[in-house]
Symmetry: C2
Amino acid sequence: MANEHAADADDLALYRQSIDNFDAALIHILAERFKITQKVGALKARSGMPAADKDRERAQIQRLRTLAASADLDPDFSEKFLQFIVTEVIRHHEQLQR
Amino acid sequence: MANEHAADADDLALYRQSIDNFDAALIHILAERFKITQKVGALKARSGMPAADKDRERAQIQRLRTLAASADLDPDFSEKFLQFIVTEVIRHHEQLQR
């Protein structure tokens, strides 16, 4: 029983190490993604392109949903995730305009 | 002027390609992260460990904020991001209990 508990605690520690590694990867990829969206915002502002592009957004959502399904991730979550990121991108662009 | 517009459109296409690549990476890492949290949920349920661990959560938040700052990502956003993910993890665990 004590050994079983020790094994469970070891498993939990290993799982948490993997979660921490994945989170570090996510944070660093997000940092790079926002660098690109800052460039997109500056480019669009400079060249007079409209900030929103509904066709592009629809294509992104459809692509992410397909990728999510193939990776056994809930497609609805992938769409919510993109929306969460895009909300932050819009916040950045609004800050630039102030 | 036409050349400038064409160059801007080329830049935008390249930026979008990078965004799409980063998004694919994010989706696949998230899929793996949720596989691990499903295992954590099952382990905790099986071994009678409490579902929530406030010390662990505090440590995760502090670690992500530090990583975000070093990657030039808004630490507040990294905390919101973790919260967004954890909300989905809790939803998964609740589904398991039904």
